[in-house]
C-alpha cells in the first residue's frame, strides 16, 4: 500500500478518466511532473468541482483530451493560461458543468445509482451543451416540473493529497469530505500524504471520524508538502507567489515549457 509517486504514476494509462480535487482540498501536485514525464496522453480530467494549477500544467504538457469542470483558474493568481489557450485553439474538449452537478454525478456513482436528479440548470447554456444530461418531468409532480438527471461519474482513478495516512492504508481527510465521494466513485484512488503515522487511524474514534478507509485506497506515497504550491486545508497555506510565478511564465507555451523544464522551489525557502 505504501509506495512512491513514480510507481503509482506507472499505474496510470493513456485515455484514463482521472478525478482531481479543488485547489484548497488537497491537490496531489507531486503527481503532476511524473505524469508529464511519463508522457501520458488523452486523459479525461474530472475536476471536483473546479480545477487549477495541476489541470493547467497537464494541459500545457499535452496530456489532456478533455476536462469536465465547473471552472479552471489559478485563483488569486488569475486565469489558467494553458487551459484558456487550449480552449481558444480547440485543442481540448471542455465539458462545462456546475459545481453541484459534479458532486451529483459522484454521489450517483457512490450510491451505485445510474443518475442523480438536480434542480437548477433549466434554461442555461451549460445544460444546452451537455447532451449526456437528460431532462425529465418529475414523476412525483402533479403537473410539468422539469428536472435534470446527471449520470453517474465513475472515474478510473482519483488522485489527491492529504495530511496523513497510517500503515494500514487509512487516509485522514478531515472535513474535506468531497475527497471521499471521489474515492467511492473511482475504481482506484492514489494518494500522496504529508506524513505517515504509526497508529491505526481507525483505532481512535476522534481521528476515525475524518478517515477515508483503506478499503477505497489503492496506493499511498509519502510526499511532505506534496500539495505545493497549493496549501493543505488547516495545515499550511498556498504559496501564492509561486502560483503567480507560474501564471506569469505560462502566458505563452514557450514560457510554460521553460518553467516546466526548470525547477521551482517554495517561495519561503528562497531567501
Amino acid at each position: 500500500m505504501l509506495t512512491n509517486v513514480v510507481s503509482l504514476v506507472d499505474r496510470l494509462r493513456d485515455g484514463m478518466r482521472i478525478a482531481v480535487p479543488v485547489d484548497y482540498a488537497g491537490v496531489a501536485m507531486a503527481f503532476t511532473r511524473p505524469m508529464i514525464a511519463r508522457g501520458l496522453r488523452d486523459l479525461d480530467l474530472v475536476c471536483v468541482p473546479t480545477g487549477g494549477l495541476q489541470v493547467d500544467q497537464l494541459i500545457g504538457a499535452g496530456c489532456v483530451r478533455s476536462v469536465e469542470t465547473s471552472a479552471v483558474s489559478l485563483g488569486e493568481a488569475g486565469g489558467a493560461p494553458r487551459f484558456n489557450a487550449a480552449v481558444k485553439e480547440g485543442r481540448i474538449r471542455v465539458i462545462d458543468a456546475t459545481c453541484p452537478a459534479v458532486h451529483a454525478g459522484l454521489i450517483a456513482a457512490q450510491k451505485g445509482s445510474p443518475f442523480f436528479p438536480m434542480r437548477g440548470l433549466i434554461g442555461t447554456d451549460v445544460l444546452r451543451n451537455r447532451p449526456d444530461w437528460m431532462v425529465i418531468d418529475n414523476p412525483f409532480a402533479d403537473q410539468g416540473d422539469p428536472v435534470v438527471l446527471i449520470p453517474a461519474i465513475k472515474p478510473d482513478v482519483a488522485i489527491f493529497h492529504a495530511p496523513m495516512a497510517d500503515r494500514a492504508g487509512n487516509v485522514w481527510i478531515g472535513r474535506r469530505r468531497e475527497l471521499a465521494p471521489m474515492a467511492y466513485a473511482a475504481t482506484d484512488t492514489y494518494v500522496t500524504v504529508d506524513r505517515i503515522v504509526d497508529d491505526n487511524l481507525l483505532a481512535d474514534e476522534t481521528t476515525a471520524a475524518g478517515v477515508l478507509p483503506a478499503l477505497y485506497v489503492s496506493g499511498i506515497a509519502h510526499v511532505p508538502q506534496g500539495a505545493w504550491p497549493y496549501g493543505l486545508w488547516g495545515v499550511y497555506p498556498a504559496d501564492t507567489d509561486a502560483l503567480k510565478r507560474y501564471a506569469a511564465a505560462a502566458r505563452t507555451q514557450e514560457g510554460f515549457d521553460a518553467y516546466m523544464a526548470a525547477t521551482d522551489t517554495p517561495t519561503e525557502a528562497r531567501t
Binding site: D23, T50, A71, G75, M118, R119, G123, R175
Partner: protein, 255 residues
C-alpha cells in the same frame, strides 16, 4: 476627537451591500469576495444586539461552518438554509442572465473565463441573489450575454425559489423585477448621473424621474466599518484590508 474622514467609495458600496442583506439569517460569500464579505460583516455588526446573522465564507478556514466538503454549500442552499449569495459575471445582461464562461462563440470563446462555478444551481435556489460587479462598462453590462451560465428568470413551470434581487456596481444600484423582467435604477453612486449610467450600460433599464444618490454610511456605520468590520475582515482578506487602511490614511492626510 478628530472628525472622521468622509466615506470611501468602497465604504459606500459595503454599506449598500449591508442594506441589501436586511433580515437575512445566513449569507454565503465566495472565497475571493472581500467586498460582499465586508457587507455581510457590517450587517452582523449592525444587528449584533438583536439577532445572529450567519456568514459562511467559502474556502476560509476561520469562517467555514461546513464539515461535509465543498458540496455542502449547495446542499445547504438546496435545503433553503442560505438566504443570500453574491454572483458576479464576465457579462450581465438586461434580463439578469449571467455569463461566467466566455465572450464570443462557445466553446472556442475569444475570451475564456474560469467557468460557471455553482451559479447554474445557486441562482435558482437562493432567495436573494445579489449581482455584484464593480466594473460597470458596456462590455460587462451587455444587451445579451454570449453564454447563459445562469438565467435571470425562468418559465413558471421551473422550480425556482431563488433568483436575482439587485445589481450593485461601482457606479450604481439597480433592483430587479422578475415579472417584467428587467432592472430599475435605484440610485447612483457619488459622481454618477442617469446619463453616465446610460453610457456605461449596454441594456435598457427603468428609472425614477429623479434618481437618488446611493447613501453614504452615517457616522455610526463608519465607526463600525473602520473598527470591528475592518479588523475582522483582515483575518480573511489581509491584502484588501491593508489597501483599505492605506486609502483611509491617504484621505486623512488630505483633510
Amino acid at each position: 476627537m478628530t472628525p472622521q474622514p468622509p466615506a470611501l467609495p468602497s465604504e459606500t458600496l459595503i454599506t449598500a451591500i449591508a442594506a441589501l442583506l436586511a433580515d437575512v439569517r445566513h449569507v454565503a460569500v465566495g472565497a475571493s469576495s472581500p467586498m460582499p464579505a465586508a457587507g455581510a460583516m457590517l450587517r452582523q455588526a449592525l444587528d449584533e444586539q438583536t439577532r445572529h446573522v450567519r456568514l459562511s465564507i467559502l474556502g476560509s478556514v476561520a469562517h467555514n461552518f461546513f464539515t461535509n466538503g465543498s458540496g455542502e454549500l449547495f446542499d445547504c442552499a438546496g435545503q433553503g438554509r442560505i438566504d443570500a449569495f453574491f454572483l458576479g459575471g464576465g457579462q450581465i445582461d438586461g434580463q439578469a442572465n449571467v455569463n461566467l464562461v466566455g465572450a464570443g462563440d462557445y466553446p472556442q470563446s475569444k475570451v475564456r473565463w474560469p467557468g460557471s462555478f455553482g451559479s447554474a444551481y445557486l441562482y435558482f435556489v437562493v432567495p436573494r441573489v445579489i449581482l455584484f460587479r464593480e466594473e460597470h462598462s458596456p462590455r460587462v453590462m451587455v444587451e445579451q450575454v454570449d453564454f447563459i451560465s445562469a438565467p435571470g428568470v425562468s418559465p413558471p413551470d421551473v422550480y425556482r425559489p431563488g433568483g436575482p434581487v439587485a445589481l450593485l456596481t461601482g457606479k450604481a444600484l439597480f433592483s430587479f423585477d422578475k415579472t417584467r423582467p428587467g432592472f430599475t435604477l435605484e440610485s447612483v453612486h457619488p459622481g454618477e448621473t442617469l446619463e453616465t449610467i446610460r453610457d456605461a450600460t449596454g441594456f435598457d433599464f427603468d428609472h425614477p424621474d429623479e434618481v437618488p444618490q446611493t447613501p453614504a454610511p452615517d457616522a455610526a456605520t463608519l465607526a463600525l466599518l473602520r473598527g470591528p468590520v475592518l479588523d475582522k475582515l483582515a483575518e480573511t482578506y489581509p491584502a484588501f484590508a491593508e489597501n483599505w487602511r492605506r486609502d483611509l490614511a491617504a484621505q486623512t492626510q488630505h483633510c
